[in-house]
């Protein structure tokens, strides 16, 4: 019953999926599907291909749920990893991205007016928070992270493409991710709501 699933953690849902529970898969899709789709669209720049990536990613969840271990990775992270890998596979096959210019702007400009009205408030808040943090990164670090994660370039491909040593790419990626993590931690603290007492 779906209602029961609403109370389960993502990790508990994966355990249910491992037992062949379709409703649990459905609930996971409802929770993570939209983010997964956004990521796939970003990588593939094509709605249909993105849907394929999400579908295959969730089928991989269905098949391999029994191998998921919750000790280190969250279930949502694991699912996004599966969808991301599939999207990168597809974009590599398409080769279409390869001809596009580097350093393309983040499509942060999805204006408020075109904002999907059904978007959950928390997702919009989170997205804006992460985008703000990304903007604070040094350009070369942001570029390395974006080309790798959204562009599907491996570290060695990036080094070649940007004409810098592989070691430099590795450092940029590490420093960039570490810095992003700090920025997000900071903004979590700032953004947390605290009651104000005036005495």
């Amino acid at each position: 019953m779906r209602k029961q699933h609403a109370h389960l953690s993502d990790e508990a849902l994966v355990a249910q999926v491992a037992r062949g529970d379709e409703d649990a898969l459905s609930e996971l899709y409802d929770r993570v599907g939209r983010i997964a789709y956004g990521l796939a669209v970003r990588v593939l720049r094509d709605d249909r291909l993105a849907e394929d990536a999400v579908q295959e990613g969730f089928l991989a969840v269905w098949r391999s749920a029994a191998s998921f271990r919750a000790e280190r990775a969250k279930a949502s992270t694991w699912i996004l990893t599966l969808v991301h890998r599939r999207a990168v596979d597809l974009v590599r096959r398409e080769e279409r991205r390869r001809t596009e210019p580097l350093g393309e702007e983040l499509p942060t400009g999805r204006g408020q007016e075109s904002e999907p009205t059904d978007e959950a408030a928390w997702l919009r808040f989170e997205r804006e928070r992460v985008q703000a943090a990304l903007k604070q990164l040094p350009d070369v670090q942001r570029e390395a992270l974006e080309l790798a994660y959204y562009g599907g370039f491996s570290q060695s491909e990036l080094a070649q493409r940007l004409g810098v040593p592989l070691g430099t790419i590795k450092s940029r990626m590490f420093s960039g991710l570490a810095r992003l993590r700090e920025l997000l931690d900071e903004s979590t603290q700032e953004g947390s709501w605290k009651p104000e007492f005036t005495s």
Binding site: E22, L25, Y29, G33, R34, I35, Y37, G38, L39, R42, E51, Q55, G57, F58, L59, A60, W62, R63, S64, A66, S67, F68, R69, E71, R72, K74, S76, T77, W78, L80, T81, L82, H84, R85, R86, D89, P107, E119, L123, E126, R127, V130, L134, L145, A148, Y149, Y150, G152, S154, Q155, S156, G167, K170, M173, F174, G176, L177, A178, L180, L184
Partner: protein, 235 residues
């Protein structure tokens, strides 16, 4: 060197490492608490990058398509070997990632249950296997049946890497064999897991030997009457 491999944590979390680096990193991960902690945090940050890309919702039909496809797979009940063949091409790289995650956390889990001698033994076996895989002099032997490869180092120590093998059915186990001419010697048991298996063989292999896997009753056998489901080319 230590710093170098530690830096790969970012690329691993973003899933942008080349294969050989991924292998090296996973081997390192088993022994490095700092990398495991950083990886956990970096995975979280990677998820934030996914959220930063969030946009319009997918078409409403997508969820139904996924559930229909999932249901269709569940209905197909076929013996292990043909099922593996059916699933493997579809699974592809996504399953490899799943297996990678399972492998990494599997090693941690093994380390955590240090109170069991079995776990220590299993860990020792995994360490030895990791050493073979990390050996730059090791060579790869293809499989004639099954999906994956056999990795053999200069001393004849061997690790069988298998993709897409299902866990052994209840009451059964996978058994490894080293076949020299007409003689097959047992070389260990393993339960199998969804995704990638990674098992070191007991004993060593000589040039010309073939490594094979059969399904046996739990506990294994000294002489098998079953056909192998996995067989390597001659070493």
């Amino acid at each position: 060197m230590e710093t170098g491999i530690h830096e790969l944590t970012a690329g691993y979390a973003l899933d942008v490492l080349d294969d050989d680096e991924r292998w090296a990193y996973e081997t390192h991960l088993a022994d490095c608490e700092r990398c495991r902690e950083d990886l956990t945090a970096f995975w979280q940050t990677t998820e934030a990058l996914a959220i930063a890309a969030a946009g319009p919702a997918p078409a409403p039909e997508l969820r139904g398509r996924i559930l229909t496809a999932a249901r269709a797979e569940r209905q197909v009940v076929v013996p292990l070997e043909s099922r593996r063949r059916r699933v493997a091409p579809v699974l592809g790289a996504a399953a490899a990632v799943a297996a990678v995650l399972a492998l990494a956390v599997g090693l941690w889990a093994t380390q955590l249950s240090g109170d069991l001698d079995d776990a220590r033994l299993a860990l020792e076996r995994e360490r030895q296997a990791a050493a073979v895989l990390a050996d730059p002099g090791a060579r790869t032997v293809s499989l004639e049946a099954g999906e994956g490869r056999l990795v053999v180092d200069d001393d004849g120590r061997a690790v069988l890497v298998l993709d897409g093998l299902d866990p052994a059915p209840a009451g059964k186990t996978y058994e490894l064999w080293i076949i020299e001419g007409e003689n097959a010697s047992p070389a260990g048991l393993f339960p199998g897991q969804d995704g990638r298996d990674w098992v070191g063989l007991d004993g060593t292999v000589e040039p010309g030997d073939v490594v094979a896997v059969t399904i046996e009753e739990a506990g294994g056998v000294e002489v098998s009457a079953n056909d192998p489901i996995v067989a390597s080319a001659p070493v």
